[in-house]
């Protein structure tokens, strides 16, 4: 029963296990999903663990139980045109003569509006309640559903129903593909680990205490050790040069600062497009600090470079490549990057471009990617980069 639903969840990256499914069945047999809204809530409880999966869950649910295909993008996002849900709708709408003219001649904004209108209409229809029964002949509800009080719509007001809630897309900003917000980024970064003994000697070492006490002829001798704590040094280097980087530069900086309490030390530097023999300690890039001095940090420092790695090839590869007049440098930037990488093996490059864009990025992206492991500046990318660093640390 509902196997298609389970497979669809897994296909959308929600890794449900057999125990989850058994719990789900157990709940159904106890009548926990008496109506569609309860089914929605209960299935979500059983299968979804992370807020980042909420949006995917809502899409799978509405597709499986209501036949409404919601694309994984927000309303107003132009990436809509790349989704299969949009293509499917477009094909059908054209065939059913629902469009005034050939899509090629229509204003994209108008197409987008029409698409979302259709989705909303579908949701509207379904939140009425009765439509749910017998869609396509098979009842989506557990065998207990009917006897337990039929299909009531949750709560009094219509706008609390599952379909409506899904329409709100309340969780899209938490989705793994979405760009970072301060909340979700902090959670991902907090996984960074580096344990070492620190703090006061306040943990009683029982084995050692007993040994010492015995050799002491029974006179108690207490032995204390220091606890193992997480102490991490982080250097953050942000490209705040191009306008494409502006929103990310600020956000990244704020974020790392927020988690400063967890870190032993945090240093933030700025650069324009790529790193030459100086980096800057202020956003305006007026206060320079020599790369030489940055390289004096301990080599277990975690280094995060944030930038789109996109620039003219000569900026990265040729001597005197710096485009800022007066800042020219005899050494090509790529050598400085190499130095950073060699000094700080725990280093990653975070790129605000999407994975596909990185894959097909310009020459400079490829060159830098060969040097630093590069991750997209999305929740998933950040998560992967942290995982990479932790794995390296063992």
């Amino acid at each position: 029963m509902m196997l298609g639903f389970f497979t669809a969840l897994r296909e959308n990256g929600i890794l449900i296990g057999i125990t989850d499914i058994l719990t789900f069945y157990r709940g159904l047999s106890q009548g926990l999903a008496g109506d569609l809204d309860r089914l929605f809530l209960f299935a979500r409880l059983c299968f979804v663990r992370r807020v980042s999966d909420f949006d995917a869950f809502e899409r799978v649910f509405s597709s499986y139980f209501a036949g409404i295909e919601i694309p994984p993008v927000e309303e107003g996002d132009w990436q809509l045109f790349e989704t299969k849900e949009f293509h499917k709708w477009l094909g059908e709408a054209w065939q059913n003569n629902e469009l005034p003219m050939h899509p090629n001649f229509m204003d994209p904004a108008e197409l987008m509006r029409r698409f979302w209108e259709t989705v909303r209409e579908q949701q509207e229809r379904h939140s009425g309640g009765s439509k749910w029964i017998g869609t396509g002949g098979t009842s989506p509800f557990g065998h207990s559903g009917y006897s337990q009080g039929g299909f009531r719509i949750f709560g009094q007001s219509k706008n609390r129903s599952a379909m409506k809630v899904m329409g709100d897309r309340r969780y899209i900003q938490y989705s793994s593909d979405s760009t970072l917000s301060e909340d979700n980024m902090r959670a991902a970064l907090a996984e960074l680990k580096h344990l070492e003994p620190s703090g006061p000697y306040d943990v009683l070492d029982i084995d050692e205490t007993i040994r010492k006490t015995a050799t002491n002829g029974g006179e108690i001798e207490l032995v204390f050790q220091r606890a193992v704590r997480d102490k991490l040094k982080v250097i953050l280097m942000i490209d705040n040069g191009g306008s494409s980087m502006l929103p990310y530069a600020h956000r990244t900086q704020v974020l790392f600062q927020k988690m400063k309490t967890q870190l032993k030390s945090l240093q933030i530097f700025f650069f324009h497009n790529t790193v030459y023999s100086y980096v800057y300690t202020d956003i305006q890039r007026t206060r320079a600090k020599s790369l030489e001095s940055v390289l004096k940090n301990d080599s277990d420092t975690r280094l995060f470079l944030v930038g789109d790695a996109t620039m003219g090839p000569h900026e990265l590869l040729s001597a005197y490549g710096n485009i800022n007049w007066g800042d020219e440098d005899p050494e090509p930037s790529i050598l400085q990057l190499k130095r950073l990488r060699e000094k700080f093996p725990f280093s990653v490059w975070l790129n605000p471009m999407s994975d596909i864009q990185i894959e097909n990025g310009s020459l400079t992206v490829q060159k830098i990617k060969n040097l630093f492991p590069m991750f997209s500046l999305t929740l998933r990318g950040l998560h992967n980069s942290v995982e990479y660093l932790n794995k390296m640390a063992g």
């Binding site: 059983c46 663990r49 949750f154 938490y174 959670a187 991902a188 907090a190 029974g218 108690i220």
Partner: protein
């Protein structure tokens, strides 16, 4: 156990959305730990207290700290006392140095499991702990039991407690931990829900004032402050405005800004933006 016995509804001091009350009831019925996430001020911890109060459950609370190792949730052995007794004798007390259990102090989990009465076990702010701490809690969540390592004794819950866990999502929880819970993210209340919350706390407030403060409150939340104002700040602010008998009108010029914005930097940013 029948569903009706457990119907948990909001109470006079706690606003509960239909969604959340359903979820609580589902978790209780299937005896699964319920993990609540959400930003501060969404009433996660409060919910646990309300469940305990309305269901008449005794409560055991574990407040997590970052230095917390997990074992002490179940029990700690008072090694120093035992060493002392071994050396100087137990004195007047009835403790027997050879009996390990005479030197055990039960933690909240230990007490909840050994209680003769059904309890509610609250693991508060679990995200403050390291992931190995969460691993230590797995058996507790899964089978309602833990092992006393020193004697290999299994302590099983007499009555499986209702387990509520809260997390501010400061860091991600480990997968095995999440797998054993029902997880729910409490979204920040929308303006209408906020109105209901205010009505519960201050039923006699002037509706005009309530509308004004709610409007400005959500406007300020939109601005990217380091610490966005939350429900408790709103309630305090409302009270302050009421006492002083002022009606805030302009989001750029509010009285008692310090109540809503707690961080100095936020306050400075707010004042600068105004001018």
């Amino acid at each position: 156990m029948k569903t009706e016995d457990l119907q948990f509804k909001g109470s006079e001091k706690y606003y509960l959305s239909d969604e959340l009350s359903e979820i609580v009831n589902m978790a209780i019925l299937l005896q699964r730990p319920l993990l609540l996430t959400g930003e501060p001020g969404t009433g996660k911890t409060q919910l646990a207290f309300e469940i305990a109060r309305t269901q008449n459950l005794q409560m055991e609370i574990l407040r997590a700290k970052s230095t917390f190792k997990g074992e002490e949730a179940a029990y700690v052995q008072d090694t120093v006392l035992r060493l002392n007794d071994a050396r100087f004798g137990p004195g007047e007390s009835k403790r027997d140095v050879n009996n390990f259990f005479d030197y055990i102090m039960w933690g909240p989990v230990g007490r909840a499991f050994r209680s003769e009465k059904k309890t509610l076990l609250l693991l508060d702010e679990i995200d403050k702990t390291e992931s190995d701490v969460q691993d230590n809690l797995l058996d507790i969540l899964e089978d309602n039991e833990f092992t006393v390592r020193e004697t290999n004794t299994v302590i099983k819950a007499i009555h499986p407690p209702v387990i509520i866990i809260t997390s501010n999502a400061k860091r991600e929880l480990s997968d095995p931990f999440l797998r054993r819970c029902f997880c729910h993210h409490i979204a920040f209340p929308d303006p209408d829900e906020m109105r209901s919350i205010i009505a519960l706390h201050y039923p006699d407030s002037n509706p005009e004032l309530v509308n004004a403060v709610i409007k400005i409150f959500y406007e300020l939340r939109e601005r990217r402050f380091e610490k966005a104002p939350a429900t408790s700040e709103l309630l305090q602010w409302l009270q302050a405005c009421e006492k002083a008998d002022v009606l805030p009108q302009d989001a750029n010029n509010i009285p008692f800004a310090g109540i809503l914005l707690k961080k100095t930097q936020d306050l400075l940013n707010y004042r600068n933006k105004k001018t």
